[in-house]
Amino acid sequence: MATCDVLVIGGGPAGSTAAAAAARRGVAVIQVEKTDGNRYHIGESLIPFCAYPLRRIGVYDAVKVAGFPVKYGVQFVGTSGAASRPFDFFQYLMDGSAVAWQVWRADFDRLLLDHARAQGVEQRRGAAAERFLIDRGRVVGAVVDGQPIHARMTIDCTGRDALALRSFAWRERDPGLDRWAVWTYFTGHRLESGIDAGNTFVCSLPCGGWFWWIPVGRDRVSVGAVAKRESLFPADLDLGEDRLAAAWQRQFAMQPWIRDHLSGAERVEPFRSTNEYAYRARYCGAPGLILAGDAFGFLDPIFSSGVFLALWSGESAGHVAADIVAGGAELSRLDAYGSRLGNAIESIRRLVYAFYEPTFAFSRIMARDSDARADISDLLNGNFARDYQDFFRQVEDFCPLPAPFGHGLVAARAAAAAAGDPQHQPVAQATQHAESSQ
């Protein structure tokens, strides 16, 4: 029977960062990844704040020389095809981390996975976690390829496979962000000149959706359309056999900037799609369990926050697990983790909602308040932890903002409160249910 201090399930950015962070604290870590380390994944755009967790786990220099295209900023393109001035990250972030990258995720994820192994993590690649091991309401590991691995703390980094969300029925969808995406890759495209060549372009569509433009390599660009289902796949329109291609082409025809930059380009990958565009776990963890990355939640990718949130939450989860293994108070640490992560996501979530409101435009906010450019740049940089109350008060003058999506607490804390005894270590309702159904 295998045992360890911390079991990390998943070999994406969250999992590898969690594993590396915990291993660097000196605890015994086993990391399981269902693939052999070569995995296609969407989410190719890093933001500057990715540099901090990458530095802290010691992999930044390896990323820097890995050959990923440099990304200096973000530009927004209107439905007419006119591009905004770039939001160059370096104008507001002045500590040398302001230049990010666009990454081919298979290469980036493998680099992080290899780095975690180099930190002393015991890895099992090609091994799939099937279910959690639960003992008296506490997660005590997982069954991996039919064999139990016992751990004092388990970190769920299973991404969209979302082991905990499925096991405990913790998935909460964000109703206002029910978008679909259809994307593919091209070569022979036209790039902007100078430092703008590697920028992300967010190109608005007349239907209220948008295209992403992410140069993921010297000769390859990722181009995806995001919109409501009824816009991409109208019920009254026969899209033919290749529905994804037809849906993408319809939106492509409506975006002049994308059309211009793909003129003469050749498609080199199949069309792909997803519809899981915004959800969050009801709880960020339970006794013995922490959720990180997409296994905790996913937000519409318009501001490229996904990889950063994966790295940040993964690193945080690794430290929280190491703290608890070392004897730290479990619930208070999980509380702090959940509230910090939830608050961080909430800032960028409000900006995502604003973006989809037809009455909102960055140019309008900045025309009235030039300082808003700094706030917007901070959000685009990934500085989610700061206070944006003043900024969002101004945004609310243009469009309504959503109520907080109040999830991400700790399962055991919620159950304890319900039991009226916060000192007691009760069995979380959800894990109780999962245990009884095993």
Partner: protein, 219 residues
């Protein structure tokens, strides 16, 4: 973060597909930021092109070893970007004013008890130890501060001369102290080495940002 070698500064050939860098170089950044008005294809080399080349060369010289993944990026791309652009465009006095505003704001944080740019620049130049910037950068700050003070004095003197000696009051234009007279600090004095001072100023800013170590989000 310093890199091992001098950035190469590649220039894509006209009409070719521009490449996306994998390690950002300061040369590409400088070209992008300050070359907007230069026209390398023009039949005669313009002043703009010449100033851009001067500035580019001095920045890459003084910041050799830094790449775009360093504080040098913000030093030239955010703190001194407007000052550099004003220099390239041919407005040296405006460049100096901009330089003063941005450098003095940073110096005021480092030397809060002092009252003027000159005093703060002198205090910075006298620093030794961990907080010291390279002597070359420190001397540039002092020169910039002195020049800004002289610029202020020149403006004040010019104002008085216009008031006292204006032709409308019966004096001939072009006489002593009138607006057309060469100032004690001529355009040549403002402009001749400004490209080098800006680049040395960028070194100072880069080092200040490094010392601030302003990592804003920690686990």
């Amino acid at each position: 973060m310093r890199a091992a070698s001098l950035p190469a500064g590649p220039q894509p050939a006209a009409g070719s597909q521009p490449a996306v860098e994998s390690i950002g170089t300061l040369a590409v950044l400088v070209d992008h930021l300050f070359a907007a008005y230069a026209d390398p294809d023009a039949g005669t080399r313009s002043d703009l092109t010449a100033r851009h080349e001067l500035l580019r060369a001095r920045i890459l010289h003084h910041l050799a070893g830094y790449d775009a993944h360093s504080c040098a990026t913000s030093a030239i791309g955010a703190v001194l970007d407007r000052a550099c652009l004003l220099y390239v465009l041919g407005f040296p006095e405006a460049s100096l004013r901009e330089c003063q505003a941005r450098l003095d704001a940073l110096l005021a944080v480092r030397h809060p008890g002092l009252g003027s740019f000159i005093e703060r620049a002198a205090a910075e130049a006298s620093l030794v130890g961990d907080r010291a910037i390279p002597p070359d950068a420190a001397s540039a700050l002092v020169i910039l501060a002195e020049r800004c003070a002289a610029l202020g004095a020149r403006d004040a003197a010019l104002g008085r001369s216009i008031l006292i000696e204006a032709p409308a009051q019966g004096r001939a234009s072009g006489g002593i102290g009138c607006a057309r007279a060469d100032s004690p600090t001529s355009r040549r004095k403002w402009n001749a080495d400004l490209h080098d001072l800006l680049a040395r100023g960028a070194v100072a800013v880069t080092r200040w940002l490094e010392q601030a170590n302003a990592e804003p989000l920690r686990v």
